[in-house]
Symmetry: C2
Subunit: 221 residues, 2 copies
């Protein structure tokens, strides 16, 4: 893990492309005031690491990934944001993560100036639950095996989606960068869970069905 990356940006290429494409126009695309909706196409950047923290956001539809890149090109996704989630909160003047739409999405932007005055609103609550999610995530990354991570991830997604058969909006690479695993290990763990009859992966590889939730929860322990 310490060698110079042979392949520094291959997996984040969509990212790079999206940023290159969006960057020139982004200032104009930034919302002018709070409550303004913003439509995003797949791969489009909401804000990038280093951008001023002028706004925070709520997901209306679609899904957003929030991530950081290491200097050798590895990516760590720290959260997937689904409709209703708030993201883009932080202390500094600059965002410390980048965020992109995984698929066609829309978000609402809120001026960050409102934070200190409006903190009685849902913001404190949002921050706390984001913090708890981050703690859970640390537990997962620090102490769980590959299959356990996948099981936890699937249960978490199932809980946040309406149905028990659902489509994952993100690619294997996204999942891997979220769970701290390689694409191959993600794939292998999924097939193992399928072989063991705990899940099913029909043909469209993004669709997932949970067949034995109890067994998955046993893994989650």
């Amino acid at each position: 893990m310490m060698q110079i990356a042979v392949d520094p940006i291959a997996r984040s290429l969509p990212t790079g492309m999206a940023r290159m494409f969006v960057a020139p126009g982004r200032p104009a695309a930034e919302p002018a005031r709070s409550g303004m909706a913003r439509k995003l196409s797949k791969g489009e950047t909401v804000f990038a690491e280093g951008d001023p923290t002028s706004f925070y956001y709520r997901v209306v539809s679609g899904s957003i990934r929030s991530y950081t890149l290491t200097s050798d090109g590895r990516r760590q996704i720290d959260a997937f944001h689904l409709p209703g989630d708030i993201f883009g909160l932080g202390t500094g003047n600059e965002h410390r993560v980048s965020t992109e739409a995984i698929c066609r999405s829309s978000v609402i932007a809120y001026r960050r100036t409102d934070i200190d005055s409006l903190s009685e609103s849902g913001l404190v609550r949002a921050l706390m639950s984001a913090l708890e999610r981050a703690q859970d995530h640390a537990l997962l990354l620090g102490r769980k095996s590959a299959v356990e991570r996948i099981a936890i991830f699937l249960l978490d997604m199932a809980e946040r989606m309406p149905d028990s058969r659902f489509d994952l909006p993100m690619s294997r690479a996204d999942i891997g960068d979220y769970l701290g695993l390689s694409i191959e290990t993600v794939s292998r763990s999924l097939t193992q869970l399928e072989r063991d009859g705990l899940i099913e992966i029909p043909h469209g590889r993004r669709s997932i069905g949970l067949r034995d939730r109890a067994a998955l929860e046993r893994l989650e322990a």
Copy 2:
């Protein structure tokens, strides 16, 4: 990682002991109102997972570890809290982590009822920085090798301590459970860094001196 733990509580024995010892008297030991200081001896529990979230805390002196246990006895420390840090914030009615004093410490408790009204205070800020710390931690756990994790950890501790030669308050087991490594790997990584001349570990094994901060920061990348 998925087998039944042979050794479910050995490493958390101090925890268990502390909890057994403190539990009967803890209700009485709980602070009666906000701003009340509480002295803690080594290993003593501030609050345990499942306790009602009646209070949150600020460290006055010493150091506190915040952790969760998996059902098979593995422990993941999600933060070390040093003087000035606020901990014990969360959305639910019950704490989701346990916290213990690593060494003789003192904390101040604040009633949690104050949160919603007093959120203009430093609380939002504290939450945000806790969240950012958690994101950094996830990056570390997901994408860094053992030596990198140790280097980052040492730099972080050095930054939070006054001096560049300092004493770590926590054991190797604590460090391991924080960084998602085994005790042995922590030890080996430290000796490797010492062999390479980046740090020195005098005789007292808890003391650390940074000899080549630039090289450590290069690892941090």
